[in-house]
């Protein structure tokens, strides 16, 4: 990342609290995060540490209690940035075919939305099919979600997150519910997609191997209150491979991340045993 370029995503002294008075819960302590344009950042940490909260703040789904969230140098919500999002559940709409599901963002997001009627049967359709082919779902466009397996749905969900060429891609444990082999296959696909399109990616994950394989930076978070405690650069050459994850350099990275998370959990465990 070029240090002089303004960050694409910028959290400045952001805090998020729920409730008020004595019952205030601090979901996210004062947090600062800068992500450069086209960067790939993974957020890891124990559950409840506010990883998903950061994604929701950056997409403007929830407002910050204090501080500022900037995307493309504008306050979040005001910026004309296209955002793609994928969750642990594929959340496809059951009444639409896979292709129609993938094309949904084109129906909503400008400038595609104005052309949707004219191009839905030609250019947009081809675009969806090309993307489906890229994730290994060629020929499944006319199927309905219930006809596909969980892994296939997650691929389709990834296509939906990417169809409108988002500058910002938010992935909230997108591969959490999949088996190891499907997961590794989708890592490679996601890496390809990132290398060719270069969106700015924020990935929330529990899988340290996944974080190391995919990201340029891994931010380790801790809970109560949620905050970022460590920001590790990951500079293995791309494209990365599964074999690489067994090399000593990679193993020592995941070990280090693991230790950081364990130590982040430690005071937590002490509190629980005291109570």
């Amino acid at each position: 990342m070029n240090e002089d370029a303004p960050p694409f995503v910028h959290l400045q002294d952001v805090r998020l609290t729920y409730g008020h008075g004595d019952r205030t819960v601090e979901a996210l302590g004062t947090t600062n995060l800068k992500v450069g344009k086209g960067d790939f950042v993974a957020l890891v940490g124990p559950s409840g540490c506010g990883k998903s909260t950061i994604l929701k703040l950056v997409t403007g789904l929830i407002p910050a209690s204090a501080g500022w969230v900037f995307v493309a140098q504008r306050e979040v919500g005001a910026e004309p940035v296209r955002v793609g999002m994928a969750f642990q559940n594929p959340t496809l709409l059951p009444w639409l075919t896979i292709r129609q599901n993938v094309m949904l963002p084109l129906k909503i997001v400008p400038p595609f939305r104005q052309q949707y009627r004219a191009k839905k049967k030609t250019e947009f359709r081809d675009r969806a099919d090309a993307l489906l082919e890229q994730v290994g779902l060629a020929g499944f466009g006319d199927k309905f979600p219930w006809q596909l397996s969980g892994g296939m749905l997650q691929r389709a969900s990834l296509c939906r997150a990417l169809i409108h060429d988002p500058q910002l891609l938010m992935l909230d444990e997108p591969f959490g519910a999949l088996d190891q082999f499907t997961r590794e296959e989708l890592w490679a696909i996601l890496q390809d997609l990132w290398l060719t399109r270069r969106p700015t990616v924020l990935l929330v994950t529990h899988d340290l191997k996944e974080a190391g394989y995919l990201a340029n930076r891994v931010c380790v978070m801790r809970a109560r209150p949620g905050r970022i405690v460590e920001d590790c650069a990951v500079d293995f050459v791309r494209p990365r491979t599964i074999e690489m994850t067994y090399e000593p350099g990679f193993v020592s990275l995941t070990q280090r991340l693991r230790e950081l998370i364990v130590s982040a959990r430690a005071p937590d465990a002490a509190v629980e045993s005291a109570a």
Binding site: K56, L61, F87, L93, I108, V109, H164
Partner: protein, 257 residues
């Protein structure tokens, strides 16, 4: 013989069997015509009096359909309002439940007072009878939309209307059609109640006159007409339902094809 055909034959046999048992019971137990006419008498009356019954049938069907259509329109609008706004939910629901708890027979005289006897009170009664299930179902369908689905749309900066038309309403469709099938029969009930109380036309009025002259077979002929109309409309809405929301009933159809 295919499975589907056998199923149809079975159900037809059961329906015919019902009338046969009825007929036999009347004959065996010597039940008088004035208490319970035999089905053959009812069909005979229906056949012989058809020219007299027909205009009443048309009137009742017309009244019911107009009332039902108004019920659907206002029901969907109210349902969308209640299902998508917290305030409307909190204030609208108690009002609606209170209103629907009132027996509709009690409301007909008020309608007659406002609009005079005839078609208008019947249309309005059919409408308010069919309204409640539609409102409740549409509101439930909208209010139970998964938050993650909404997050997907909000992340795309979708407007409230976008979310309503692309997620909320399609998701509420199965609920909506379930309520239509209940409501269409209720609409008939509403029409007939109003016709019985305050009208000089319609099946309700026909049955009223027939029973006051102890023409019991004609009363039953009226009931039969109502039942047939109800079944017919129910079938039509089932058919539309199957077309529109096949995705929600996938298990009935072929699987991976």
């Amino acid at each position: 013989m295919t499975y589907a055909l056998r199923r149809r034959l079975n159900s037809a046999a059961v329906i015919i069997g019902f009338f046969v048992v009825w007929e036999l019971a009347c004959v065996i137990f010597h039940i008088k015509e004035i208490v319970l006419p035999r089905p053959s008498q009812v069909f005979e009356t229906l056949w012989l009096q058809a020219p007299a019954i027909w205009p009443h049938t048309v009137q009742t069907l017309y009244t019911t359909l107009v009332g039902f259509a108004l019920g659907i329109i206002s029901g969907v609008l109210l349902g969308v309002l209640i299902g998508s706004s917290r305030l409307a939910y909190d204030t609208g629901y108690p009002l609606l439940i209170g209103f629907s708890s009132i027996p509709k027979v009690a409301v007909v005289p008020i309608f007659v007072l406002w609009f005079g006897a005839g078609t208008v009170p019947a249309v309005l009664t059919a409408m308010i009878m069919s309204l409640f299930p539609i409102v409740v179902n549409v509101a439930t369908g909208l209010a139970t939309t998964e938050p993650e689905l909404e997050d997907v749309m909000k992340a795309l900066r979708a407007t409230k209307l976008d979310i309503l038309f692309n997620v909320g309403l399609p998701r509420a469709m199965p609920y909506f059609f379930a309520s239509l099938k209940v409501s269409v029969t209720l609409a008939f009930v509403g029409t007939v109640i109003a016709e019985t109380v305050a009208s000089n036309q319609g099946i309700g009025n026909l049955m009223m006159i027939a029973s006051s002259s102890f023409d019991v077979p004609l009363v039953f002929a009226g009931l039969l007409v109502l039942a047939l109309l109800g079944v017919g409309l129910y079938a039509i809405f089932s058919l539309i339902e199957g077309r529109v929301i096949g995705w929600a009933r996938r298990k009935d159809d072929a699987g991976f094809a």
